[in-house]
Symmetry: C2
Subunit: 327 residues, 2 copies
């Protein structure tokens, strides 16, 4: 079943307005939820919307809250998000970072007490649309074991890097686990095995069964000890800058709320588009592993999916779409 972008966005907006979202917040958040599905990140679009409404109902996401600047030193700001919707806080924080970058060349906003930003790539596309290089990352509840350990003590802490490009930005949006929990959920929902092992089952063996990994919470970090180290460092940077909740504190609280995020933007008028095109062209000359295989740059498939879904409608999980109609 397919649904038009506008229908998805209007439905989300109507529901948000019924849950104490201001007109401005409902418009922004519904747009981003619908865009996430439009861009093919269904796990953080429609599929996550009912969970998001539950968080609002439970008071973990506070629709009325507004973020505030706690401290400011040149191009570096620290904010308190007061548990406002993560999408809203993150959009404002990246906007502030790009504004700082336009004045200072580079800018950084760290925010504490915020909430899940859904798709991190959203804020990468936002920075690139503003003509800036964007780098942002968030912490999460513990869901990846540190290298050498069995029990999850690290978040999968998504990292986003975006660079503006004429004809379609480059946007990398990756969690430091081999598969994001959104992706695991998607495979479980669709009854599909993962193409590569993504973590451990209850017997301690590597598995491609997404449900088993969601059960043990022993997701595999990218690059084994490297992803483990990267996850820890992102959490340390986030916490050191914001003074907010670390993965440790989020996990102790038992609910993934009040997370910490950092947004860095860099502005330089000439980003050497011709050299970026050279890099992409060179990368694509690698002989494909599969006979008709293709090599993509980060963000390239997103744009293909976006255009396809705009033209033909967004494929939706009917059960979840029904559930949303009844919210």
């Amino acid at each position: 079943m397919k649904v038009a972008y506008q229908d998805l966005q209007h439905k989300f907006e109507k529901i948000l307005l019924q849950h104490n979202f201001s007109a401005v917040k409902a418009a922004l958040c519904s747009k981003i939820f619908a865009q996430n599905s439009l861009d093919g990140v269904y796990s953080h679009g429609l599929n996550r919307f009912p969970v998001f409404i539950d968080l609002v109902k439970n008071g973990l996401v506070k629709p009325e809250a507004e973020p505030e600047i706690l401290s400011e030193n040149g191009a570096l700001q620290v904010w308190d998000g007061y548990l406002a919707p993560g999408i809203y806080n993150a959009s404002l924080a990246m906007k502030a970072a790009t504004d700082l970058a336009k004045t200072n060349g580079i800018g950084c906003v760290s925010i504490k007490n915020t909430n899940h930003w859904m798709r991190g790539g959203t804020y990468g596309w936002q920075a690139a649309d503003a003509g800036c290089i964007g780098i942002c990352f968030t912490n999460t509840i513990a869901n990846v074991p540190p290298w050498g350990g069995k029990e999850p003590r690290l978040g999968n802490n998504p990292l986003v890097i975006a660079v503006p490009k004429t004809g379609g930005h480059l946007v990398l949006d990756m969690a430091v686990s081999q598969y994001s929990y959104g992706k695991l959920q998607e495979h479980e929902l669709n009854g599909q095995l993962l193409p590569y092992p993504g973590g451990y089952d209850e017997a301690g063996n590597l598995t491609t069964d997404a449900a088993a990994i969601r059960k043990t919470e022993r997701a595999l970090p990218i690059g084994l000890w490297k992803g483990s180290g990267l996850s820890l460092m992102l959490d340390v940077v986030l916490t050191a800058l914001s003074g907010g909740k670390s993965t440790s504190a989020i996990t102790s609280a038992g609910k993934e709320a009040g997370v910490s995020q950092t947004f860095i933007a860099i502005y330089q008028p000439d980003l050497h588009q011709n050299l970026i095109e050279q890099i992409i062209a060179f990368t694509k000359t690698s002989e494909p592993v599969e006979p008709n295989g293709q090599i993509f740059y980060p963000g390239e498939k997103t744009l293909i999916t976006r255009n396809e879904n705009l033209a033909k409608g967004i494929p939706v999980n009917e059960e979840i779409w029904k559930q949303v109609q009844q919210l």
Copy 2:
């Protein structure tokens, strides 16, 4: 065989002075080469020194050159490194980034036409010693295939993230290949197999044979498609900011010279040391996979090795140490 840190440093210094290095440059570069071995990164200390001298002799590294600021916009600078020793350029660039951060909260220096910085961690420790969070990365010659391709078109582009900590900084220094080429060389030199597959052999199979991977140059990116995307994005950011050589241009030139690097520093007086300690303590509570296993934070083992090598001398590859004596 073991050699004292001072003996290693003095030997390097003497040789550099004989190769047109100024007293200042010889002191700095010899110190960093010796420190790399002291910290256990033998592949980028003594073991790389003869190769470095060859590069000086071949004119790819220019001892007399001085870097220059090409453009300056607030806290963002672009430099030309004029092929000066990579260690020297990188030290000055990170120093400038930390100075910018002390004034502006955050600072960024991108440099083109520089050379191999040896151990990237050096500049992470430097930033942390200056009280700053440090993030830096470099591109390299193509040595990793992009996801979906067989031939190397991406660099292993090391990424460094450092955070100051009382009693020992946190410093992550990772190439985006599962094993750095330095580590592969070390295993080949010692005749050891890799503990995990690190790339493909000539038959296209995953292998733990470092020599075979060095031959095919099909090193495995961390996290499969994720490391491939991360490598590309780092190269794009480096090239877009500096206007310098991308992995594509370095590879076309045939020699790993004139690379591009970016140094970001963030300064905030209070980095919440208590919260950093909490993160580390929590991470270490994960039940170890091995009965007596231990979980380390990035940089922790470095400090242990440093102290051990300071006390007992630095273990050296005798063949290479002899070779250096004859330089």
